[in-house]
Symmetry: C2
Subunit: 421 residues, 2 copies
């Protein structure tokens, strides 16, 4: 994999150029993207020209001219934007999504668009898991996670409505960062559920993801300067723990043990029953809003929507305003409760997914270990570094306090290092 | 003016057809839009055809085939969408904004796009006030307010980031409804500040606006069935009361007196000092986000941005993340405080604008009586019905509790009727 931080330091030190980084990406793409299928659109030539023509300005910019992949759910003026749907074949937006503009402002070079599932839904797309081509890379940010995992990109953008950043990051063995709700702007990103849609970042390791998010947002999110303080961690199994694989249970418990050995204070947290209601509320809110967010497509081109999403929207039409409002009220109560019960810890530790990437490409896996956290809105980080018996990556998830994204990233880095020891 | 409710009842009763309503709009447009300039795009022919071909389905739909004007800040697939900016000349989006889809789902016929100021900012556009062509109609939803005021449309959509629904409604003497934040979806609406941007509705009177919002959202917001209960009203002058004209002060006090005579319990509320901080926080949040929301335009076509907005964005570039975060924290505290201090009243009564529409077209007037409420997020309603010494409309504002939009509309209707008596 390409460490964004390592590359940025080399560029700063003058031992590497932005164009040289593109060459490394190009070599990995050439070698592996034929079988992985991480890109929906790619323009190495333009990125090389930009890198060569603006070297001086790029070198001193926050992203130092690093190549960035953009999930094809964000509008881009210079690449087709198809949202993973034939309804948008050849679509060329008039502008860049706000986050794409911020990447460019920060001195990032957009190398291409990465594959998204259809409208960032559960309907799988063509991408395969770089660790085993017969397994799903997860979704919906399939291409972004796979491209980083295969060393084709040091940084990629994604989005999460259910578990679309944390789950593919876990399945592909990379760091995924879903920031606090709306920390990264979503204007110009195709919406699925406006109460849930959250933009996020993929990179090789936790410190790389923090570096990228800091550069793009202009926020103090870097965690690579100095050792992270040992955090207070609450191991949180949640009510669906029994649906985690044995390997995942072991991975979470190993992470907790190793973090404790490294100096973290580890406790256990049993979530009160309201979080089971909140878990259910997620689906109601998501589907009620999706039936509206995709109204144009559903009303004018329903036959061009894939069967999984079409069925989801057919059912969503029946969700009442009353059920939606009740789900919103449950969410509000659960958020207050979450602040209460996590008051004396820094972060929670919980699975990133039920297990390693499932076999087959007919499903992108389940977001059951992500939905609650997307709904609650706090920062979540997938911490890579463990493997199952088939040598597939297993990711564990760090959940922080809303608005304190830096602390979540620092704790995730601490756990990542503890696991590596 | 065209009462949406009255027209809907006639269509239901079979004494009028959707095509007949379009004819009435067409006559008013023919007579007055040459001098008012409310439309950015118009297609009477298509609306007539749709009305004639789908009469039966439209008659029984929630909006009964009524014509609707869409502020040109919402994407539409069948009209150019220019956001009031030459950067988007001839822009044809691939889809409808979600709210436009919901209008069509509810059986509304989109007659045209109404003029917006540039990206819904303070930079004025061509529209004139129907009550006096030498005066501004207000902004940024200039065309929507003016079109309803001139009887050219029974319903129009707008949006508010500062005071862009309530102020033009007040200046043009129509009802304006800014619902609770995100009650109406904003996906596909050009963003200016994602924390503030709120979609809203214009109609002739309060009950008309409630009818339209109910039909579009599928929510129980109608207030035309039965008499509204006398509300508990807190007359709220705010710290900028001295900036209201004498006529506006009198209009608010008259509304309070007449509501009391009609049976409302009227008290007075002095807002604590934190709301002055919140007032200032609005500008910081708005401008910080606008510098990002309009990043593509600012970075690629700064010379095509008008001088008022360009200057605003130039200054906004200097707002720090720390100042923005502090403004967000102030907002959170002020929202909690607002819930506390308004606990024993149903609504607040306060000016909709500093006075009647100012003379001249070089400014759309000030949003100082709106910013705080946009930031706090509760439902706001402009109640028309009073006039100043020049016979220009004066609007007073009803502010409800967040999430209880129906109660705010019912109280506004109560005040509207009290004023009329």
């Amino acid at each position: 994999m390409l460490s964004a931080l390592d590359l940025a330091r080399r560029i700063e030190a003058g031992t590497m150029t932005p164009a040289g980084v593109i060459d490394r990406c190009a070599a990995a793409i050439e070698a592996r993207d034929g079988e992985i299928g991480a890109f929906a659109a790619l323009d190495l030539g333009r990125a090389r020209r930009d890198a060569q023509q603006n070297t001086k300005a790029l070198v001193s910019a926050p992203l130092h001219g690093l190549p960035v992949g953009i999930k094809d759910i964000f509008e881009t003026v210079d690449f087709p934007t198809e949202f993973g749907s034939p309804i948008y074949a050849g679509n060329r937006p008039h502008t860049d999504a706000v986050l794409v503009s911020l990447v460019r402002r920060a001195g990032g070079l957009v190398l291409g668009k990465t594959v998204t599932t259809e409208f960032a839904s559960l309907q799988p797309a063509k991408t395969r898991n770089p660790h085993n081509l017969g397994h799903t890379p997860g979704g919906s940010s399939s291409g972004s996670a796979a491209a980083v995992a295969a060393g084709m990109l040091p940084i990629a953008l994604g989005s999460q409505t259910g578990g679309s950043v944390i789950r593919p990051a876990a399945y592909c063995g990379v760091a995924g960062f879903k920031p606090s709700y709306k920390l990264l702007p979503t204007l110009g990103m195709k919406g699925f559920s406006w109460y849930l849609d959250t933009a996020g970042v993929f990179a090789a390791g936790v410190a790389d993801a923090a570096f990228a998010a800091a550069a793009i947002s202009g926020r103090d999110l870097r965690v690579d300067q100095g050792e992270p303080t040992p955090p207070r961690i609450a191991l949180t199994r949640t009510h669906i723990w029994s649906q985690a694989s044995d390997a995942m249970k072991a991975a979470v418990e190993t992470a907790a043990q190793k973090a404790a050995v490294a100096g973290a204070r580890v406790s256990e947290l049993m979530l009160p029953a309201i979080f089971e209601d909140a878990f259910d509320a997620h689906g109601i809110i998501q589907d009620f809003e999706a039936y509206r967010a995709l109204a144009f497509e559903y009303d004018h081109a329903r036959d061009k929507i894939g069967p999984i999403l079409r069925d989801q929207l057919d059912k969503a039409a029946a969700i009442t305003v009353e059920a939606y409002d009740a789900a919103r009220r449950t969410t509000k109560r659960a958020r207050q409760k979450l602040a209460e019960v996590t008051n004396d810890v820094d972060v929670l530790l919980t699975p990133s997914a039920p297990g390693a990437a499932p076999k087959g490409l007919g499903s992108t896996g389940a977001s059951i270990f992500n939905r609650l956290w997307t709904l609650m809105g706090p920062p979540c980080v997938n911490v890579p570094g463990q493997r199952d018996e088939m040598n597939l990556p297993l990711g564990v998830q760090i959940v922080g306090h809303f608005g304190d994204d830096r602390a979540a990233l620092a704790a995730a880095l601490f756990v990542e290092r503890a696991i590596a020891n």
